[in-house]
């Protein structure tokens, strides 16, 4: 399992589109987890102007990912993808750490 977090080309393009709508010029995509959801943990995704000192910063496909240390433990190996189309789910976390996932797929446990 690669100890990094990746982002697919499509997801990177979509993230750039969202950032431009919000007129962010310099930005990073903050990915993380928070407590809650049926299974215990849910994913969080937001656009941040800059990283925080304790963040891990990863750059792929032209996008900077900001990940706080505690979230990183649960996300290492995850690829952020984008599911397009009418029935698409939007951003999808493919997380190899997730042992169980709730019915709707938005929360997981490790």
């Amino acid at each position: 399992m690669p100890l990094t977090i990746g982002i697919s080309e499509t997801a990177a393009r979509k993230a750039r589109e969202f950032a431009q709508k919000g007129s962010h010029e310099e930005f990073g995509l903050r990915v993380g987890v928070k407590g809650g959801g049926c299974s215990g943990l849910t994913y969080t995704l937001s656009i941040d102007a800059e990283s925080r000192p304790e963040d891990k910063v990863i750059e792929e496909n032209g996008i900077k990912l900001f990940i706080d240390k505690k979230s990183y433990v649960f996300l290492a190996g995850t690829i952020l993808e984008y599911s397009d189309g009418l029935n698409g789910k939007g951003f999808v976390f493919n997380n190899p750490n997730a042992k169980t996932v709730c019915g709707c797929g938005t929360s997981f446990s490790v």
Partner: protein
């Protein structure tokens, strides 16, 4: 016997009033009785009793995200709990099993969370596990504060105006002998009950003031008798990761429309598809008390097991709390409790049982 007007410590005040101590749940020495458990029981049923509930954990939680995080971790809807109000909620695992029953009171500047006896560290650790960057700080106030409960039909009147208007789990500030205390209506024994939380250094004075107003000191034995008669699940007995909140009768503390929380999917499915396997009931017993974990059979088939047992003054015979299979959980079922080699007959009853006539 009336306690002396001053006492250096809560324990000293209780000893002077005739307390016999035993190691309570959570490891604190607590009064088992004050010489006459039957009289203590009557005080709680008919007047006002004073019970030391300090063994139950207390956490002070501050931070802008505190209510939102607890809302995501437990069964009840907490995000709307305004200052001065509170709620009971169940902390559940992702399999929908009970970790603890919590009372969350919004004191304005902070939340006061009452946990089960001795489970405050576990609850604090659980909250910490699920804290990612939220603005929240958890402080264990179990030993820095005492919790004295005034319980019974006269409890509200004894505490005065501040307490008498409180709905369940609401909070008020109270002044007793010049000392401020927080009062939360918790009804923990299934009858009117108010927990008075006060800094440990004021505990003896507050205890004496409450006794002076007429609250009769009672010990854990009388409280346990009431708890079983009222069908209130107890931490470590009826409440543990062996059970889900629906089996334990905690339905009033579950919100089905608040959205996701840990364990929600399982709890909702159990409820929607009526998959709850067993539920808490009373068993009125004919002989000597069986063991507190006796197996129950009906027509030689396993139908459940006992979790707590007391001598019930209301029934005039032993009464058990038991988990009974849903298929058999109707009052009037003849059962046998298997306690070692002994078999004790009994019949299932709905709880709470009617109070004994005065």
């Amino acid at each position: 016997m009336m306690p002396p007007a001053t006492a250096a410590s809560l324990r000293e005040a209780q000893l002077s009033a005739g307390a016999a101590f035993h190691p309570g749940e959570g490891g604190l020495p607590l009064p088992a009785h004050f010489g006459d458990a039957a009289r203590e029981y009557r005080a709680a049923r008919q007047a006002a009793a004073l019970l030391d509930r300090s063994a139950f954990g207390r956490l002070r939680i501050t931070g802008a995200d505190a209510l939102d995080l607890l809302n995501r971790l437990s069964t009840n809807k907490l995000v709307d709990v305004q200052p001065g109000r509170g709620a009971a909620t169940v902390l559940t695992t992702n399999k929908g099993r009970v970790i603890d029953l919590l009372i969350v009171a919004n004191l304005g500047e902070e939340l006061l969370v009452i946990t089960g006896p001795g489970s405050q560290a576990r609850v604090a650790e659980w909250i910490d596990t699920y804290t990612f960057g939220e603005d929240i700080a958890v402080e264990d106030a179990t030993h820095s504060h005492a919790m004295l409960s005034v319980t019974g039909p006269h409890a509200a009147a004894l505490l005065g105006d501040a307490a008498s208007g409180l709905d369940p789990f609401d909070f008020a500030e109270l002044e007793l002998e010049g000392r401020r205390a927080s009062v939360i209506r918790t009804d923990t024994l299934g009858i009117d009950g108010f927990d008075v939380v006060t800094p440990a250094e004021h505990a003896a004075a507050v205890w004496l003031a409450l006794a002076d107003r007429g609250a009769v000191p009672i010990g854990a034995l009388a409280a346990e008798t009431l708890r079983v008669e009222q069908g209130v699940p107890g931490c470590g007995r009826e409440l543990s990761e062996d059970y889900n909140p629906l089996e334990a009768g905690l339905l009033p503390f579950i919100s089905f429309d608040k959205g996701c929380y840990i364990g929600q999917e399982v709890v909702v499915r159990l409820n929607t598809y009526r998959k709850v396997q067993k539920r808490l009931m009373g068993v009125a017993l004919d002989g000597e008390k069986p063991d507190a974990d006796a197996r129950l059979t009906a027509d030689d088939r396993d139908v459940g097991f006992i979790t707590s047992v007391v001598d019930s003054p209301a029934l005039g015979r032993p009464l058990a709390l038991a988990y009974v299979r849903t298929s058999h959980a109707e009052p009037g079922l003849t059962v046998q409790a298997h306690s070692g080699d002994r078999v004790v007959g009994g019949v299932t009853v709905e709880l709470p049982v009617a109070a004994p006539s005065a």
